[in-house]
Amino acid sequence: MSKYRLDYLDELEAEAIYILREVAGQFEKPALLFSGGKDSITLVHLALKAFRPGKFPFPLVHIDTGHNFEETITYRDEMVARIGEKLIIGHVQDSINEGKVIEQKGKNASRNALQTVTLLDTIAQHQFDACIGGARRDEEKARAKERIFSVRDEFGQWDPKRQRPELWDIYNGKIHKGENVRVFPISNWTELDVWNYIRRENIPLPTIYFAHQRDCITRNGQLMAASPFLNMDADDRIENKNVRFRTVGDMTCTAAVESYAFEIDDIINEIASSKISERGARMDDKVSEAAMEDRKKGGYF
């Protein structure tokens, strides 16, 4: 027996490719949930490695809140054109127009919570039986216990008490009609792993990940991008700052951090020495200690 060990990025990559191929092998109509964020961009790159020179055995699905950073949409469309794969878009605006959800009011209004409905409708409409997502276990403590194949009932709900045991690397994707499985190929990656992988593989990213000048306001101690989607009042003071975003979500709930990290090496140094974890910059988790668990049970990604 030799003492060779795979480098950690090779091991994480091999595991993610293995999981993606299991999805292809086990499901009839899978989809890859693409948010435009670095984690789902990494998934697309891994899918290229898993299936090229063949086509992806699934489309990309973007749930569009309509409150996106413009840079994300530009990136998305360029990427889809480059790789030549199919993109399906579910619009939160459609759910609002159909009266399925009601737009929130007030200062902290966000479409973030509404997108769950649009996602579930999109899944139902296309009859997806597996949705691949870029969630990682290090993001949040409810996620730390989620399986790689995570079964959702027909209401999209996650039941943390009824999770299937997941042994070795055998993933049980058997489901009843109406159920679907959320699959998380990069469960075992940390934020820094993703960044190191993006650097190693030279994967292009939307520009908002890098430091730039932007008009911001301070809300609940966090920096938010000033935009027409953010309900502002006289108390809000706009300041131009050097910022970047650590996650890419809806403009109304994704906080910026002040940063001078213009290159990926700067970002990796910044994160390595950082003292705020990634979801700390997402206002939607701040509501209560059990916020993520509640939203996952309700069918959030």
């Binding site: 795979l6 092998g25 290229l48 490695k49």
Partner: protein, 416 residues
């Protein structure tokens, strides 16, 4: 840098969550906002210090009951290694969770309370570690501060444990006296335990050698997916995609496809834009064969010189994981590698009392029961004995009524 996956076996009372919290806290793997939440929590230790166990509690129900129910995964790294901790509950009613966490671990930390010594649950945890074939074991004797850091207490526990270890068949054991609450020998060497000259727990985790069998005789590639672009320029392209589960393949290796038994040679190995000469255990690759033979998902490519057993009747160890008991009249599904086939449990040979290790005759198998059975499978399965090659010897049972994973199988030998 490589990754070490390990499991911690012990119950809340042994200070398991405190141990993990301490590892994360002292190795500075806790970020500012998590730390803030930790300090803001109402849970404190008796002396008013922060309760590090909160770091590993995940779900609301668990916080309410104050116990760890499920397996939680935690991540941290040092300059030497990256670590993934599977934090599994220790109580007997959560045996299946521990089996789940143990299935992927390369190392197990067995916690013993210095005041209590080797107890019933130590036997149970050690048996499971042995059953799941975790290659490295650390026996961490915790709460040394409660016994005045007394060497005699530690030595006695080590002596007692050695008896147990030989009974369950464990070797590669390292013994470390610790106090998770006070931080002795967790990250830093203890100034209270001067008689102990070995590594702290973290130093040990950083340096312990984990070997991988990369012999070609053990080469196994379960096929997940056949890549067939079917475009004009790639008309004849047929690549067999999968992850090498054990051993290694090289170009020109003579291989056999099972269960069909057809042979060929490896003509090309691909990983996206690279064409490596060899594929080692753990790598996800696409291989090409010289001959055009019919291969699909569920088949396994092996080195012709080192073939696994192929059988439709296999003796195996079984851990039952469902609240519905095993029904020997029922048809289940067995999932092994990328193959899922109908099966029946033909015979229960015995059940193990995992607290005493006694083997009992049994005609029923309930949640958390472990024992030996014979499984009869509708089609032949190409497997290695779990004891010899974990990667090709583990399988799960699925109840086709509920689709739940109801059993873990450690395959042993063909009984055809």
């Amino acid at each position: 840098m490589d990754i070490l996956k390990f499991i911690t076996a012990g119950s809340v009372d042994d200070g398991k969550s405190t141990l993990i919290g301490r590892l994360l806290y002292d190795s500075e793997a806790i970020l500012a906002d998590q730390l803030e939440a930790l300090h803001a929590s109402n849970r404190k230790n008796d002396d008013g210090s922060i309760d590090l166990a909160i770091l590993t509690d995940g779900l609301k129900a668990e916080r309410e009951q104050g116990i760890t129910i499920d397996v939680a995964y935690k991540y941290f790294e040092t300059d030497k290694r990256k670590f993934i901790i599977a934090d599994a509950p220790g109580h007997i009613q959560y045996t299946r969770n521990m089996v789940t966490g143990a299935s992927n671990a390369a190392l197990a930390i067995i916690l013993i309370d210095a005041r209590k010594g080797v107890v019933e649950q130590t036997t149970r945890h050690s048996f499971l570690v042995s059953l799941l074939q975790i290659p490295q074991v650390v026996v961490a004797v915790n709460k040394m501060d409660m016994v005045d850091f007394d060497q005699a207490v530690f030595d006695q526990i080590v002596a007692d444990y050695k008896v147990l270890a030989s009974k369950v068949g464990l070797d590669n054991i390292t013994y470390i006296p610790i106090s998770a609450l006070k931080g002795d020998n967790i990250v830093f060497s203890s100034s209270n335990i001067t008689w102990y000259k070995g590594n702290s727990l973290l130093q040990h985790l950083e340096n312990v050698e984990i070997t991988i069998d990369d012999s070609s005789a053990r080469a196994r590639l379960p096929i997940q997916w056949v890549v067939r672009p079917q475009t004009d320029e790639l008309h004849d392209y047929r690549g067999y995609a999968g992850r090498v589960s054990s051993g290694s393949f090289r170009i020109n290796d003579q291989v056999t496809v099972l269960p069909s038994g057809f042979s060929s040679t490896i003509s090309k190995i691909e990983l996206y834009d690279k064409q490596p000469d060899e594929a080692l255990a753990g790598m996800s690759v696409t291989v090409h064969l010289q001959d055009n033979i019919d291969i699909s998902r569920g088949d396994i490519i092996v080195n012709s010189a080192g073939q696994p057993q192929v059988s439709k009747a296999i003796e195996a160890d079984l851990c039952w994981m469902d609240t519905r008991p095993l029904d020997t009249s029922l048809t289940y599904l067995v999932q092994h590698n990328t193959k899922t086939i109908r099966c029946k449990i033909q015979e229960i040979i015995y059940k193990v009392n995992i607290n005493t290790l006694e083997k009992d005759f049994a005609d029923e198998f309930k949640l958390n029961d472990i024992g030996r059975i014979v499984i009869k499978i509708a089609e032949p399965l190409a497997f290695d004995p779990y004891q010899v090659n974990k990667a090709n010897g583990g399988a799960i049972l699925i109840d086709s009524r509920t689709n739940l994973t109801v059993g873990a199988l450690m395959l042993r030998q063909s009984v055809e």
